[in-house]
Symmetry: C2
Subunit: 291 residues, 2 copies
Amino acid sequence: MINWDDIKYFLEVARSGNITAAAKKLGVNHSTVSRRIQALEEQNGVRLFDRIPTGYEMTEAASNIYEFALEIEARNHDIARGLVGQDSRLQGDINVTMPHNILDYCLMREVTRFKELHPEIRLNLFVAKGVKNLAAREADVAIRLTPSPPDYLIGKEITKIQHGFYQSRNLKVTSEVPIIVWGDETALPTWAQDHFPKAEIALRVDDLYSMYTAVKAGLGIAKMPCYLPDTIADEEVRRIDIEIPPSSWGVWILSHVDLRHTARVRECRLFLGKCLEDRRSLFKGLESLYV
Amino acid sequence: MINWDDIKYFLEVARSGNITAAAKKLGVNHSTVSRRIQALEEQNGVRLFDRIPTGYEMTEAASNIYEFALEIEARNHDIARGLVGQDSRLQGDINVTMPHNILDYCLMREVTRFKELHPEIRLNLFVAKGVKNLAAREADVAIRLTPSPPDYLIGKEITKIQHGFYQSRNLKVTSEVPIIVWGDETALPTWAQDHFPKAEIALRVDDLYSMYTAVKAGLGIAKMPCYLPDTIADEEVRRIDIEIPPSSWGVWILSHVDLRHTARVRECRLFLGKCLEDRRSLFKGLESLYV
DNA sequence: GATTATCTGTGCAAAAATGCACGAATGATA
DNA sequence: TATCATTCGTGCATTTTTGCACAGATAATC
């Protein structure tokens, strides 16, 4: 009988397109992946990948079994969640993911506190940009900024996100209003059109903290979620007294339904939820320093 | 991430109810199974089996993931067939299953011949009583006696099976007719009621060859598929000249659809099919020695 | 065209998994 | 009750798998 674990290797190589990347994802040496694939091919007398100079490319034979492999992976995730879901110990791994700004400016101290409270729990923090897949158990607890999370996640909305316009106290606005926008925005954003008809794009950034420092440096006006500048509460950076309707996006603390009763996951979710609730007025923009 | 191969161990233990039997099925030492299950439990902090004196018993936690494990097994079988299905070599393993009487009295010489013709092919013969599951790749080629095979199997019907009544040439039939029947038949079988109203059950057997030797020993009359006594063609054992309509069951040579184009499987199927066709008149009861 | 980076395969040593053999515990059987 | 048969866990030797380090090959880049 084939080694079921080899399907895992096969799948990852098929997805990655080369054994190096697959090995990294699987957390093993690339030579292991190489040898497993070789073994799978030899044992079945089937060539699964063409060795092209840039890596591995699926053959037709491989495409024929690819769908089955995906199905197996999905069921394995179900099992993994099923098992963790019944773990009543306050120990083991928890993978937590959140936007890195939330961590840096809201929860760093609290996460540290949690680790002190539960030294038996190994808390792994993923603050990378990509959205972690809770169904695949890439994360057990997630803080997400989203209008509404999918059905298979449980948790609650802490509050809606409030945005505000911010500028440096020293910013001298003449006829043209310099504004700072997101890098992916090509045209003048609607908020600028509405409130600053004479706006001119002064800078594009792809990171919230960069936006903040740009504002602080006096480069222009930016629309930011209040929690960041208001946490830092720098004398230089002030909110402009223009009302913006609250965003339809909220701050959510979430877990997969299957992990509802898992002791450590529940503990972590409730703990972080509490922390966020303590910051509610911050998210609502009630602690701003105005111009 | 969990070791996907461990699910295989889990599933087999869940099915077997003890690690010894599971290990035997998996072809490994029982201590390996024991340690794998232990590891799976420890890594996930979940007890999967209660150790009862007679073996292992699934906990609720285990039942919750059992269905997923079955699904994974099925998809792994799909993959295994998918891979073998694209093997164009005339080498490797073939698992063949057939009723043991067919092997003993029809195909023993031919199987030997096939192995000589294709020394690169490792032909594994399963003549055990239980019906092998072709979907699970327990067998690649099967000779089956059946009214009609399931859709996912391909192959052909060699001929319908002809039965006949046999007796020893020396059998003296007085007022009562001694008959030999299958062990699971409780009442007088219909064939006896129809043709031998004065029949008396003289012996019950659970094996065709035993039935034959009983007939030869003069214990009574038996209804047997013609191929067996007619192959042996013993002077003592004669068919009674009573017509029996041909059975609705036929002799089939079969493979799984997925293995249609697999070179060695195709070769074997065609070869054995040919052998059976050469014996067609035997199955039709055209070579009987009559009383 | 030369250089750099990326990707892959392989020998060798270290690590992990496996098989074997034994002993303990329980259930079945005489 | 005593014996036998199953079943399971564990120490130890062996086998297998894995990681590491290096080398060769091709693509990308300068």
